[in-house]
């Protein structure tokens, strides 16, 4: 080994460690750290691994409930009971920074990482979702071209990994906004299924048990990626490309099958994937959870490159690797299974009783740190939050009323609202023969054949709302996720969140984080969807500033009976269209304001929990009785966009005739307001009266708006009718993204 560099204040600073943190390291060790140990601390105490700036906030989330089998933070992913002895493990995780500098590999390895988090729990991964954000992709500017390149690269990277490993990508969301210029968001979600007794633990239990390294060899890729992810992106970030890992989905497929086979054999005492901070994180976390120590010999680690130092080997984030603690005497089982799958493996150490993470290099100790202190005792910070300033209401008089006909066409063609068919057509969304509702409806619906359960899943976040009022925006993100599940016939079970924010050292950013977490926590309590885990991604800034706060919610629900599966598409001409909820009037922070008037301002719509929950319960009860032909929530673009989507989602587009009577309101206000707690349903004509009286009996505000049919979409506002031919509407909604990307 070459001589370690001397520890200087510059080297400490380069590792992102503050002078106070360095003092704390010396306290933990009772001495000065060596260079390798400094590297180990720098990744473990980075925001990415320790959540040092956000952990105090995260404690506000509800994490318990009757159905929660493994709580958030306990293990790599939470586990939730779905009945009959079956459970699901799911989680969402970001790969924003790597995707900004290398979109294809950044996104691909993001998918790989979240899949490992799930099978580490002993669950068989069954489907994926993705929540993506990019800068605008329209136009000829260099920025737009770059955004298109990032978008194309990320989608291709997700497709590459998910398609090859054989997991369907069944849902997700993509939004475009200037605030993501230079800092796209890539949040990947994976769900797996397991029996209650199959839950695997990431603890190094059983002193003397051998520690195995399995999977791909370690190289220099992804060196200190966790630390890279905990900085702002700058012009120089491109030089960090070596911090991005390279994904090999075929190897991960082998690793997945081999690990599940190994877990089924009963010889595993503990298992943990090597994700962020690689070998370092997996050794100290397993030791910390087990209340034990782990000692490994670095020379035994399978290596792809020669001449790697202990520092490099410990901090590498090479993909497709796992750490397995095997019950003593069962070593032959590991060899048999990993030989079968032609995967590298090595016994690299053992579990000890002294609580130390000890690393040797050819026998000589190079790292010796108390594991628990390293894993769990990172400093926690109360960052300074700016003072909350209420967002002013939108002054409607300042908004010139735009032409209704043109506005709807433009809204449908805006990439954030337009159909994402160009995206999900590139994802294998049908493998595992369980996708009963394909991408493009409110929530994807998947039949998990192993468990004979039908699950619905969605991800949601309107970042304009969050920018304008992070607390209200986060509450709405949770409510909308639950609403989407209700529309597809599902009862929400639990949620996972991906908190994407700017640099927490800036008080205005920290205020956004705190407000969003508190709003989200409150809403998750109200809808009884405890948070099972998730991910925090801070430092999402480019030279132009921070991204809009984007606290993405992933939510999973169960559909009790196959007959309850409902989609957003209108089904038959002659069906009656009914609105659950009020016509609304709130245009603040709306897409109409942004797309048509170029203004991102005003207070977002207000959420009333009781009204919202009442609507969810009502739509579910109508679904259970068998009254609904379709259900779709009103979101970006308001009722006009929602009706158009119902028309255009049908196999062959269907027209509709709609009447909206709201005296005293402007046309644009009626058509495009984004007031919450509204669901658009269609029912057979013969059932319309019964549906309305059931809703009245439940005390739910509801209106008959019109009916499905005809060759046009006609909407009359206070008696003034506008008609749209279906084909131009379809083209605007369906073809826009493809045309932008393929031209």
């Amino acid at each position: 080994m070459s001589a370690s560099p001397e520890i200087t204040p510059e080297i400490i600073d380069k590792h992102g460690i503050t002078p106070e943190e360095y003092e704390r390291i010396k306290e933990v060790l009772g001495r000065e750290p060596n260079f390798t140990e400094l590297g180990v601390f720098s990744v473990m105490w980075s925001e990415h691994c320790s959540y040092k700036n956000s952990r105090k906030e995260l404690r506000k989330f509800p994490t318990t409930g009757d159905r929660i089998l493994v709580k958030a933070g306990e293990e790599n992913a939470g586990v939730v009971d779905i009945g009959d002895g079956w459970a699901v493990a799911f989680k969402i995780e970001s790969h924003n920074h790597p995707s900004a500098v290398e979109p294809f590999q950044g996104a691909a390895t993001g998918v790989g990482g979240i899949i490992r988090d799930i099978f580490t729990m002993g669950a068989r991964p069954v489907f994926l979702m993705d929540s993506l954000r990019f800068g605008p992709i329209e136009g000829d500017s260099d920025t737009a071209k770059h955004n298109r390149r990032l978008f194309a690269g990320v989608v291709a990277g997700i497709a590459h990994y998910g398609n090859c490993i054989g997991l369907p990508t069944i849902a997700g969301e993509v939004y475009f906004d200037e605030s993501y210029n230079g800092n796209p968001l890539v949040n990947a979600f994976c769900l797996g299924v397991l029996k209650h007794e199959e839950i695997a633990r990431g603890a190094a239990s059983g002193v003397g048990n051998p520690v195995f390294y399995v999977g791909a060899e370690t190289g220099r890729d992804g060196l200190a990626g966790a630390a890279f992810a905990s900085r702002e992106l700058t012009e120089e970030s491109k030089q960090d490309r070596p911090a991005v890992q390279v994904g090999d989905p075929f190897k991960e497929k082998l690793l997945l099958e081999a690990c599940l086979e190994l877990l089924a054999s009963g010889c595993v005492a503990g298992i943990q994937d090597m994700g962020a901070a690689g070998l370092t994180c997996s050794t100290c976390e397993t030791a910390s959870r087990g209340g034990t120590g782990v000692e490994i010999e670095i020379a035994k680690v399978p290596q792809r490159e020669t001449g790697m130092t202990a520092y490099e080997t410990l901090l590498s984030e090479s993909q497709e690797r796992m750490l397995v603690i095997v019950k003593k005497g069962e070593e032959a089982t590991v060899r048999r299974i990993f030989d079968k799958w032609d995967l590298p493996y090595a016994e690299i150490g053992s579990v000890t009783d002294d609580g130390m993470m000890r690393v040797r290099e050819n026998g000589k100790i190079v790292v010796e740190i108390p594991a628990k202190k390293l894993a769990d005792d990172a400093p926690l910070y109360d960052r300074e939050a700016a003072k909350k300033v209420p967002t002013p209401e939108l002054d409607l008089k300042s908004v010139k009323q735009a032409d209704s006909h043109e506005s709807l066409l433009r809204l449908l063609a805006t990439p954030s609202i337009a159909s994402k068919r160009w995206v999900w057509r590139q994802y294998d969304h049908m493998v595992r023969v369980g996708t009963v509702v394909k991408p493009g409806s409110d929530a994807a619906v998947f039949l998990v054949r192993e468990a004979n359960k039908i699950l619905a899943a969605t991800t949601d976040c309107n970042a304009i709302y969050c920018k304008q009022d992070p607390r209200e925006g986060a509450r709405i993100a949770v409510a909308e996720a639950a609403r989407n599940l209700a529309c597809s016939g599902a009862v929400p079970l639990a949620s996972t969140d991906n908190l994407n924010f700017g640099n927490p050292h800036k008080p205005e950013n920290f205020l956004q984080l705190r407000e969003a977490v508190e709003g989200m926590a409150e809403a998750c309590r109200y809808f009884d969807t405890p948070v099972t885990g998730g991910n925090v991604s801070l430092y999402n800034e480019s030279p132009a500033g921070a991204i809009d706060p984007t606290p993405t919610v992933g939510m999973v629900g169960v559909i009790a009976d196959e007959k309850h599966i409902t989609t957003q598409a209108f089904k038959n001409a002659g069906d009656v269209v009914i609105l659950l909820g009020d016509l609304g009037d709130e245009l603040g922070a709306s897409h109409y304001l942004k797309v048509i008037h170029g203004r991102k301002e005003g207070r977002p719509p207000r959420l009333d929990y009781a009204t919202e929950k009442g609507i969810h319960d009502a739509v579910l009860s109508l679904i259970r009785i068998g009254l609904l032909q379709s259900a779709h929530d009103c979101a970006e673009g308001g009722i006009a966009v929602a009706v158009a989507e119902c028309c255009l989602s049908a196999d062959k587009p269907l027209g509709a005739t709609i009447r909206l009577d709201a005296e005293g309101l402007r046309d644009d206000q009626v058509l495009f307001n984004e007031s919450q707690s509204r669901i658009l349903v269609s029912v057979k004509r013969a059932n319309a009266a019964a549906t309305l009286s059931l809703l009245a009996w439940r005390g739910i505000s509801a209106k008959r708006l019109g009916e499905v049919g005809g060759t046009d979409l006609k909407i009359a506002v206070n008696g003034r009718e506008t008609a749209w031919e279906l084909e131009p509407l379809r083209a605007a909604w369906m073809d826009t993204i493809g045309e932008l990307m393929e031209s």
Binding site: N163, C164, G166, K253, L254, R425, Q426, V431, V433, E562
Partner: protein
């Protein structure tokens, strides 16, 4: 009828195929590991979709050298039934059990979507339960499914009625617009000259239940079962 569904390490439609086959009457279907060298116990062999050995080089290029492919070739030579779906079709072409090659889709993207294919002839092991000219709704999911062959091969395929499925629109017109990947002559599936080896890009196992949106894929599986029933020694 007894099926082997070959499991290469990167197969990912293997269990889907087993599931679809087992749902049919009088069928047993088993996963068979790619290191197996003997397939004599099976009446039919399915090479399922996926990424056999990662396929970073050329789809199916490595699979052709696997131990099990020697056994598949032997079975094909003996006249037993072999079906290659998606990656399985690519492997059959790489192994020269079927002519031509499957290259990168026109437009270069991976495409997963519902497609329509027309039955070009029903006088075959694989399509006898459909009508010639009938349209089946079966999805595709591939990055390299553009069928290419030289002119002589194409002529032979046509002359010997080896083209069993062509991409078409809902009405059965094999137009350019209905061709998802740029395949020559809209070819979606072909058989060998002897008639017992069939490769197709669409995934019949994904169209095997009404709740998946289509059951048309079962036409292929039921055709094989019907042919086997008529030709089995027990049938009189």
């Amino acid at each position: 009828m007894k099926f082997a569904v070959i499991r290469f390490p990167g197969s990912n439609c293997d269990e889907d195929c087993v599931h679809a086959l087992r749902a049919l009457p009088n069928v047993t279907a088993e996963l068979v590991w790619h290191k197996e060298e003997d397939l004599s116990a099976y009446d039919g062999i399915v090479l399922p979709g996926g990424f056999s050995y990662g396929d970073y080089l050329r789809c199916g290029a490595i699979a052709r050298f696997s131990p099990v492919m020697q056994a598949v070739k032997k079975a094909a030579d003996e006249g037993r039934i072999v079906i290659g779906i998606c990656n399985g079709f690519q492997i059959l072409c790489e192994s020269r059990l079927l002519p031509g090659a499957l290259v990168r889709n026109r437009g270069l993207h991976f495409i997963c979507e519902s497609t329509y294919v027309r039955v070009e002839t029903n006088y075959t092991i694989f399509t006898n339960q459909g009508l010639t000219g009938s349209v089946l709704n079966i999805p595709i999911a591939h990055g390299e499914g553009c069928y290419m062959a030289d002119e002589e091969t194409l002529r032979d395929l046509n002359v010997h009625r080896q083209i069993l499925l062509r991409y078409c629109d809902k009405e059965g017109i094999a137009s350019e617009a209905a061709n998802p990947n740029g395949s020559l002559q809209n070819i979606a599936g072909i058989r060998n000259r002897a008639g017992n080896v069939f490769g197709l890009m669409p995934h019949p196992e994904r169209a095997s239940e009404a709740r998946l949106g289509s059951q048309d894929g079962n036409v292929i599986f039921r055709s094989v079962l019907e042919w086997h029933r008529r030709h089995s020694p027990l049938h009189s």
